[in-house]
């Protein structure tokens, strides 16, 4: 298919429709407003549900309801709005329901600002809600990749009966880029949702319950262990990443999303000078792509984490590193997007070093 030029938010919205999204529940917040705006027009056209909820809290609980009754559901928001959804997300995971959540990140903490940021890494990957839980979180870098993972997310969510988050920064939400909306994406063979509380107990002959409450701690533990099995499966099967110019790299940048694109520019420039630098680009930030770090070439001595935050993913890099490489970090905060030259300068600090 020919590529069309689309704004990131609108492309995500259209991708959701193409991914089979039955219903959207959301609340306006910059910089993701074009998602609900697009869907308020186009869901109706497609005979699907669009509801502007009274708040993010209500929206995520509508998602919970609709997902519980078997629909493919989307919500989208930005950083403080995602904070408000944490209880609801914890419920959705606890009740093993699928849904897709888009977070177009802006600067924090608090009201912060509305410029692009990656400051929600912890909020997204550590589960800001209560209890042991995880969700698959994609952090794409281009609109094409964003559109592809949005579409795929609905399948993945159904497959694991777990929420999937798409974490992009405001830049990806706001920019326009040509994108093939109909690129083939991997599809899962999905069983029917026989567990859903669809209001068809008559037809079904038995009643379904959607619940996250387990008053007996041994029951709740069993439930937690069952969930853990799913997480382990995700860790095994869903790590996604790209290795860029790694073969002979001395310094390996670890960066995702817009930050990875900027790193690419830096690497391109540095490689032209003969500087041996590569990139590990996590495409999923949960599960964190530990596998990418398994067989790095002998030449590597330093991992340089780059983030549009003050060092959140860097903790995951530390976790996988376990003393193998020197670790370095560079980040910008509050909505400041770094320039290529800054990154080049950072890399130069570490080339020529050793373990």
């Amino acid at each position: 298919m020919a590529k069309v030029l689309m704004k990131g938010n609108e492309a995500m919205a259209l991708a959701a429709i193409k991914g089979g999204c039955d219903a959207f529940f959301g609340y306006p917040i910059t910089p993701q407003n074009e998602i609900p705006e697009y869907l308020s027009y186009h869901m109706e056209e497609n005979n699907r549900i669009f509801v502007q909820a009274e708040s993010e809290v209500a929206a995520i609980n509508m998602v919970y309801g609709a997902a519980g009754s078997g629909a493919r559901v989307l919500t989208s928001s930005s950083s403080p709005g995602i904070a408000l959804k944490q209880e609801g997300i914890s419920y959705i995971v606890g009740s093993e329901l699928p849904c897709v959540i888009i977070n177009v990140m802006r600067g924090g903490p608090g009201l912060g600002g509305i410029q692009p940021s990656q400051g929600d890494y912890n909020q997204i990957t550590r589960g800001g809600g209560n209890g042991d839980y995880h969700l698959i979180a994609f952090a794409p870098e281009t609109l094409q990749e964003t559109v592809d993972v949005v579409k795929e997310s609905f399948d993945l969510a159904d497959y694991y009966r777990n929420p999937v988050m798409i974490a992009v920064d405001g830049l990806i939400g706001q920019m326009m880029e040509p994108v093939d909306m109909d690129k083939e994406i991997p599809q899962k063979d999905l069983p029917a949702k026989t567990w859903a509380a669809t209001g068809e107990s008559g037809k079904r002959g038995s009643r379904n319950k959607i619940v996250s409450l387990h008053l007996d701690p041994y029951d709740l533990e069993k439930h937690n262990l069952k969930l853990k099995e799913k997480y382990d499966k995700m860790v095994e099967n869903e790590q996604r990443y790209e290795m860029i110019s790694i073969e002979d790299a001395e310094v390996v940048i670890v960066a995702y999303g817009s930050m990875a694109r900027i790193a690419r520019s830096a690497v391109k420039a540095l490689r032209e000078e003969g500087v041996k630098v590569g990139i590990i680009r996590p495409i999923t930030i949960w599960p964190f792509p530990e596998k990418a770090f398994e067989n790095l070439p002998e030449s590597v001595h330093t991992l340089l984490t780059l983030e549009m935050s003050l060092g959140q993913m860097h903790q995951d890099v530390k976790i996988v590193n376990q003393g193998r490489y020197n670790l370095a970090f560079y980040g910008r905060a509050g909505g400041v997007v770094p320039e290529t030259d800054e990154i080049i300068e950072q890399v130069r600090k570490y080339v020529g070093g050793n373990k």
């Binding site: 509305i114 920019m175 326009m176 880029e177 040509p178 690419r264 320039e339 290529t340």
Partner: protein, 180 residues
């Protein structure tokens, strides 16, 4: 066209600077090359100044951020002050002199001055000042041919807006002429 072209378009909100950028990206998409359009966004654009940047390239566009543009289109003074210093050496600066009178321009760049408001008014529509600047830009940079742009006009000016195509084409042509 150049292998990679980066341009920043800036002015007051309402001067149509976002549209200039979008048209460039549409034209690039139509030609099958890579492009990224990035707007400034949020309340700071309300009333104040607005700008966008466009990258166009045969290759994959890595960093979408334009820090040293090949060209700058400045529709008002604050924009000129903000972006002129960032322009690459030998870069092209297009200035709407209707809004910017005296200014001490850098020596190492090519400055093209267009009295866009006046020209637009003479076409009977102040709103097409932006298309005059666009015309000047494609002429000066050589990034696109006229047809690449007019093709886009027919796509974005539809229904009740279709009647605007002609005046916009005229504006484009005016701009191209003025930049020759």
């Amino acid at each position: 066209m150049a292998n990679t072209e980066q341009v920043i378009i800036a002015g007051f909100g309402g001067q149509g600077v976002m549209l200039i950028g979008q048209i460039l990206s549409y034209a690039a998409t139509n030609k099958g090359v890579n492009t990224v359009w990035i707007p400034s966004y949020g309340p700071e654009t309300r009333g104040g100044t607005a700008n966008c940047s466009v990258s166009i390239s045969d290759e994959m566009i890595n960093s979408p951020i334009v820090t040293s543009p090949d060209s700058v289109i400045a529709m008002n003074l604050p924009s000129l002050q903000k972006f002129e210093p960032k322009l690459k050496k030998d870069g092209i600066l297009l200035v709407n002199t209707s809004a910017i009178k005296d200014y001490n321009y850098r020596e190492d760049i090519k400055v093209i001055k267009i009295d866009a408001n006046k020209e637009a008014l003479s076409l009977g529509n102040l709103k097409v000042a932006n298309m005059i600047m666009l015309g000047a830009y494609i002429q000066a940079s050589g990034v696109f041919e006229k047809d690449n742009i007019t093709e886009i006009f027919t796509k974005i000016f539809t229904d009740s807006k279709a009647k605007l195509i002609d005046v916009n084409i005229k504006a484009l042509e005016t701009g191209m002429k003025l930049a020759t």
